[in-house]
Structure formats: structure tokens, C-alpha cells
């Protein structure tokens, strides 16, 4: 068989593809990385060259009460929303994987819909609905809406770990005399735990990053971190914002690594090879 020869045109095409892809990757990643060094700027402006390195913006952040308060609020809402989303989402995922029943597809479509409805509409809806219930201006109301936004993630990730789940394990547990709940806790849960944790992390980050609903449902007393950041970007874009952003990037890297490790572990547990 003759060896494939490349024409100049093909080599050029190949080179262009590579160039384009590299450009696309730079576009994807560079903007995120560019703000990390700038957060250590000794000067007060947001560009290069930097007059020197310093931690002054982190120190300022550390000493500012409003940032701490908003962080605490975000953590409270995020934790509450995640707990609700994980419990309800896992139950539903297990149920949906168990059997086919009429209307299952429609049910699934409703349960996933919080992922695609524009947040402004969610925010407007919950605002009108929560006023008479006294749930506006409270962290509880925000946590409830965030739980609804996070539950689909848990449903999807737990659903994914249940693909290829060996039902004989459950039957074995039951035949050995375990009650359904015990079977779930001691057989099913260890196997789907990676999906529960990654779904939980998705739900948490969704709540931790959510701003639109927070703007409508909370007052000055329940300012969350994204809300605080939004005002900072709008009114006075200082390197302090970049310090917050850098911390958030580090948190995302940690979460991303955790989820990726969990996914691989789950595949290994189920004996699926990529």
C-alpha cells in the first residue's frame, strides 16, 4: 500500500486547524488566568505592568466586615439548598431508575426544567409568590429557590451513577433479610455516593454563584457574596474584587478536581472503562 502523502494544501489546512484551536483555547482560559496576578498588584489599577507585588487587597478583604457577612450568608444559603437538593434529588433519581411508568418522560422534563428557565423569570415568579408568605427578605426563601435550581443537577449526576447499576445487589441484600431502607443505606448508597457528592457540589456552586434570584428576594440584611461582588463591579471596580475572584477561582479548581476524581472512582466501582 502506498504511503499517504500530504499535499501542501493539507499541511496548511492542518496548521490552520491547530492555530484556530489554540486560539480558541486561549480565549477559553486566558481571561480567567489574567486576573490572578493582577490581584497581587501593589498599585490600585487593573492592568500590567504592575509596580510590585503585594497582599494589600487580600488584607483589605480580610478586614472588611461586609465581605465576611456576605460570605456567611452565602454559605448558609448554599448549605441549606444543597441538603434539600441532595435528599430530594437522590430519592427521585433512585425512583426513576427503578422502573418505567406512564408519564415518566414528562415528569423528567418538569424536574429538569429549573435548569433552562431564565433566572429573571424564576426570580420574578418567586418574588410575587413569596411576598404574601413572608419569605422575601429572608435567607430561607432564597435557599428554597436555590434548592429547586440545584435538585436537577443531583438528579442527573445520581442518575448517571445508576446507569449500569447491578440490581442483583439490591435483591441480594433483600434476600438476606435487610429492610428496603437498610438495603439503600448499606448497598445502594455507597455505590451512588460519588454521584450524590458531585451533584451536591453542583447544587452548592449553583447557589453560591446565583445572583438574579438573590437580587429580587433579599434585602440589605441578607446580602450574599455574588450580590456584594455585583455592586463592587458596578460601583467601584477595585483590585479587592480581583482578590475575591482569585479566591473563587481556587475554590472552583478544588471543586472541579473533586468532581473529576469522584467520577472516575464511580466508573471504576461499576467496572466501566472509559
Amino acid at each position: 500500500m502506498a504511503r499517504q502523502t500530504r499535499t501542501t494544501g493539507q499541511a496548511l489546512g492542518h496548521g490552520l486547524l491547530w492555530l484556530w484551536t489554540v486560539a480558541a483555547l486561549v480565549f477559553l482560559v486566558a481571561p480567567i488566568l489574567v486576573i490572578v496576578p493582577l490581584s497581587f498588584n501593589a498599585g490600585a489599577f487593573l492592568s500590567f505592568p504592575m509596580p510590585g507585588l503585594s497582599l494589600r487587597w487580600y488584607a483589605e478583604l480580610w478586614q472588611t466586615d461586609v465581605w465576611w457577612r456576605s460570605l456567611v450568608n452565602s454559605l448558609i444559603v448554599g448549605t441549606g439548598a444543597t441538603l434539600i437538593a441532595v435528599v430530594l434529588g437522590t430519592a427521585a433519581a433512585v425512583g426513576l431508575a427503578m422502573a418505567r411508568f406512564p408519564g415518566k418522560d414528562a415528569l423528567m422534563a418538569v424536574l429538569i426544567s429549573p435548569l433552562i428557565v431564565p433566572l429573571v423569570i424564576v426570580a420574578a415568579g418567586s418574588y410575587f409568590f413569596f411576598i404574601p408568605l413572608g419569605l422575601t427578605g429572608s435567607l430561607l426563601g432564597l435557599a428554597l429557590v436555590h434548592a429547586a435550581l440545584g435538585a436537577p443537577f443531583v438528579l442527573i449526576t445520581v442518575g448517571a451513577t445508576l446507569v449500569g447499576f447491578d440490581r442483583n445487589l439490591v435483591r441480594a441484600g433483600a434476600s438476606l433479610g435487610a429492610a428496603p431502607l437498610e438495603v439503600f443505606l448499606r448497598v445502594t448508597m455507597p455505590l451512588i455516593a460519588p454521584g450524590m457528592i458531585s451533584g451536591g457540589l453542583f447544587a452548592f456552586i449553583t447557589s453560591f454563584d446565583e445572583l438574579v434570584v438573590a437580587m429580587f428576594l433579599t434585602g440589605p440584611g441578607q446580602r450574599t457574596l455574588p450580590r456584594q461582588m455585583f455592586d463592587g463591579i458596578r460601583e467601584n471596580m477595585s483590585p479587592t474584587i480581583l482578590a475575591v475572584a482569585t479566591i473563587l477561582i481556587v475554590i472552583s479548581i478544588l471543586l472541579l478536581t473533586t468532581v473529576e476524581l469522584l467520577r472516575r472512582r464511580s466508573l471504576r466501582l461499576r467496572g466501566i472503562r472509559e
Binding site: 482560559v29 481571561p31 434539600i84 430519592a91 411508568f101 415568579g125 435538585a151 455574588p226 461582588m229 472541579l256
Partner: protein, 425 residues
């Protein structure tokens, strides 16, 4: 066997298998199946109820706000009733004016005249102060009320005013939807387009659509080669690329928007570099953010992973044999790629495209921060009417139109691709 099942009361033939309790195996199995289906459904009920209560019902309720019109019917009840008799010609007679005086006096007492004024002000500008003035003096007016009101303000002698009040005295109205579509009533009550210099929302919907389409096209253009390399490079490099795609996916939306402001603003990184290199002078700095450009660039960046991931999952399953077959049949690299490979990626292009488009049309935060005036989208105006102008009916109508579009696309997505195939990372 199937016949044995339909026999009902007759004892099962001897050939049918029985469980230990003496129930035919098939019946017992069916019972178990039914129980399993019920349990499965019951497990999904809590989350269904939760999402209905915190999500679906509030949104449905909001959508109803776009046609609710309680102000006049509730706060000017006698006027509304008296106007039912009126034929819409000329100025109404004394009974209507007497009813209005009574209603307004009561409304002033209950402090609800402001609501009536605000509602009528959407239809006729200036009505807010007219109603307030009339309400303040309503209990001191004396018969004949018709002359008294007209003396107070000429507008009460205009048949158009009364036609509007009569029209809006129904508890439901299409007015907000008409306003959301740049339509209005003329003096005779016909639905007409507003003057072309007052069109706001139809052009805004069109702008939102084409911004979203442009972003979808850009993410496809940038995402296709990335997904291609991820799917066809050796495992290690592919995984590295995957991490580069997932990092922005996990990074806060506000962080990514901040980055683009830092990069693109006039005293920002890119302008500084261009000035330093000498491409532009210090006074010729480019305006790249706080306008339409800012919205498109930042949103393309934010939504790119949503295009790459579905493309990648489709491309990974395309066997290389088809390309080889095409090459062996004489196609050159380009023809084989374009006519054999690309058509096989259409499910991924469809899934990614619909997903990016659906997410893009509803964006609010990014356009608000980097869009300036020309980069605002429909969500920004919904938020504006919710929070600033407080015209909740119009906000609800705009929101309902947006929601209807998104739901229609979601339905298509579900029909064609299926939500259960949605994967995360």
C-alpha cells in the same frame, strides 16, 4: 399463557407455574412489577411537589399577572358598573360621574386611589395626577357631578378617557401583552402599532434573538475544533483539554464577567498592550466593553463549555472507519471531513446549539455588567420593570413571551435529544 391471564375466575390450567402461595407466577410477577412502579413513582413525588411549589406554581402565577387587571374593577366598583350601561358614544351621563365621585371619595379614604392612578397612567399619561387631584376633592364635590369633574380637569369631558376606563374595568386585560408587542389602542379602541419611534420591545426581542444566534454560531465555531481534538487526541492530552474546558465551566459567572471588563476596558489589559506595541495611539483606545461587543464576547466565553461538552460526547462515539472508507473511495481529506464526518456530528451540534441558545436568550447579569446600552437584552428590561418602573403587568407579559419561547425550544430539545441524555462533565 396470554389466554390463561384473561380467564378471570376460572382456575388456571395445570400447566401454569405457581408461586409457593398458590398464586399463578405471572399474576404474582405483575403484582410485584406494579408495586415497583408505584414505589418508583412515590420516590419521585417529594422532589416533584417541591419543584411544583417553589418553582412551577410561582412562575405560572407570575404569568397570570400579565393579564390580571384588578385595580379599576376593585377600587372603582360603582363606576365600573355604571359604565356597563354606557354605549361608548360621547361623554357618559350624570349617574357615571356620581358613581365616580363616590368611588373616588372611598378610594381616597382607603388610600387606594394611587393604585387606580398608576394603572390608568399606563394607558393615558398624566392620569396619575388627574386621579389624585380628583380623589383629594371627591368628598367636597357637589351635584351636578358631571360639570364639577369637567371643571376640575378637561380630560373628564373627553370620551376617550371614558372608553379607556370602561375597557380597563374588566378584571382581565390584554393591555400588557399589547404593550409588550408594541401595540396599543387608538382613540376608537382599535388595536394599532405604536409610532415607529416608540417601538421598544419588538426590536428588543429581535435583538435578543440575533445576539443569541450570533453567540450560538460563535460557540460552534470555537467549540467544534476543541471538541474534535478532545475526542481524537490520545487520552492524556484529551484529558488535559477537558480540564481546560471544565475550569471555566466551574468558575463563577461574575468572575468571568469581571475578567472581561479587566481585559477589554479602555484602561484595560488589551488596550494597554495595543498601545505599548504601537498599534493604536494612547488617545485612540478602543471601546470594546460596555456595549454590544462586550455582551457578545463575554457571553460566548461563558457559554462555550455548553457547546463543547455535547459535541465532545457525540464525536467520541463516531467510529474512525467511515472516514477511512471515504478516503479509500477517493475522497480527499477535506471532502471526507465535510461530507462524512461533519454530518455525523449533527446530533451534537443540535444539542449544543439549542442548549447555548436557550441559556443565552435569558441572560441578565452579564449584559447588565458589560452590555452598556446597546448590549441589553430582554431579561434586563424585565428586571427593570420589576424593580424600577414597577410596571409588574408589563414585566410579567414580557417574561411570559420569553418563557413561551424557551419552553417551546425545550420541548423540541426534549423531543429530539431527550433530557435524560443531558450530561455534566
Amino acid at each position: 399463557m396470554a389466554r390463561a391471564m384473561t380467564d378471570g375466575g376460572h382456575p388456571a390450567p395445570a400447566s401454569t407455574m405457581m408461586t409457593a402461595e398458590g398464586v399463578p407466577l405471572k399474576v404474582s410477577l405483575r403484582r410485584a412489577e406494579r408495586r415497583r412502579r408505584l414505589t418508583a413513582f412515590l420516590l419521585a413525588v417529594p422532589v416533584l411537589v417541591f419543584i411544583l411549589v417553589t418553582f412551577v406554581v410561582p412562575i405560572a402565577d407570575m404569568a397570570l399577572n400579565s393579564v390580571r387587571n384588578p385595580e379599576i374593577a376593585t377600587h372603582l366598583p360603582e363606576t365600573a358598573a355604571a359604565l356597563q350601561e354606557w354605549d361608548g358614544e360621547g361623554v357618559p351621563g350624570e349617574p357615571v360621574f356620581a358613581a365616580l365621585a363616590k368611588d373616588l371619595a372611598a378610594a381616597a379614604e382607603a388610600r387606594t386611589s394611587g393604585l387606580v392612578g398608576a394603572r390608568l397612567n399606563y394607558e393615558i399619561s398624566g392620569m396619575r395626577s388627574t386621579i389624585q387631584r380628583a380623589a383629594r376633592r371627591a368628598d367636597r364635590l357637589e351635584a351636578p357631578f358631571r360639570e364639577a369633574f369637567i371643571e376640575l380637569d378637561d380630560i373628564w369631558g373627553d370620551p376617550v378617557t371614558w372608553r379607556v376606563i370602561k375597557r380597563e374595568s374588566h378584571p382581565y386585560t390584554p393591555s400588557f401583552f399589547l404593550a409588550a408587542l408594541d401595540r396599543t389602542y387608538d382613540d376608537e379602541g382599535n388595536i394599532v402599532k405604536v409610532a415607529s419611534n416608540q417601538e421598544i420591545y419588538v426590536p428588543l426581542f429581535m435583538r435578543t434573538l440575533w445576539i443569541s444566534l450570533a453567540i450560538t454560531a460563535l460557540t460552534l465555531l470555537l467549540g467544534f475544533p476543541i471538541a474534535y481534538l478532545m475526542a481524537h487526541l490520545p487520552m492524556r492530552t484529551g484529558n488535559l483539554l477537558m480540564i481546560l474546558v471544565l475550569l471555566p465551566f466551574w468558575t463563577s459567572l461574575l468572575v468571568r464577567t469581571t475578567s472581561w471588563i479587566v481585559l477589554l476596558q479602555q484602561q484595560g489589559v488589551i488596550n494597554d498592550i495595543l498601545v505599548w506595541v504601537g498599534v493604536i495611539g494612547d488617545d485612540g483606545r478602543l471601546t470594546m466593553v460596555h456595549n454590544l461587543n462586550g455582551t457578545i464576547v463575554a457571553m460566548t466565553h461563558i457559554l462555550l463549555p455548553f457547546m463543547v461538552l455535547p459535541l465532545y460526547s457525540v464525536m467520541r462515539t463516531i467510529p474512525p472507519v467511515y472516514m477511512r472508507a471515504a478516503r479509500s473511495l477517493g475522497a480527499n481529506q477535506w471532502t471526507a471531513f465535510w461530507r462524512v464526518y461533519v454530518p455525523q456530528t449533527t446530533p451534537g451540534i443540535g444539542a449544543g446549539g439549542v442548549l447555548v441558545f436557550i441559556l443565552a436568550v435569558g441572560y441578565y447579569i452579564t449584559p447588565a455588567l458589560v452590555g452598556g446600552q446597546s448590549g441589553q437584552m430582554i431579561s434586563n428590561y424585565i428586571a427593570y420593570h420589576m424593580q424600577r418602573s414597577l410596571n409588574w403587568g408589563l414585566a410579567a407579559a414580557l417574561g411570559t413571551i420569553l418563557l413561551a419561547g424557551v419552553v417551546a425550544l425545550y420541548y423540541l430539545y426534549n423531543k429530539i435529544i431527550g433530557v435524560d441524555r443531558l450530561k455534566l462533565g
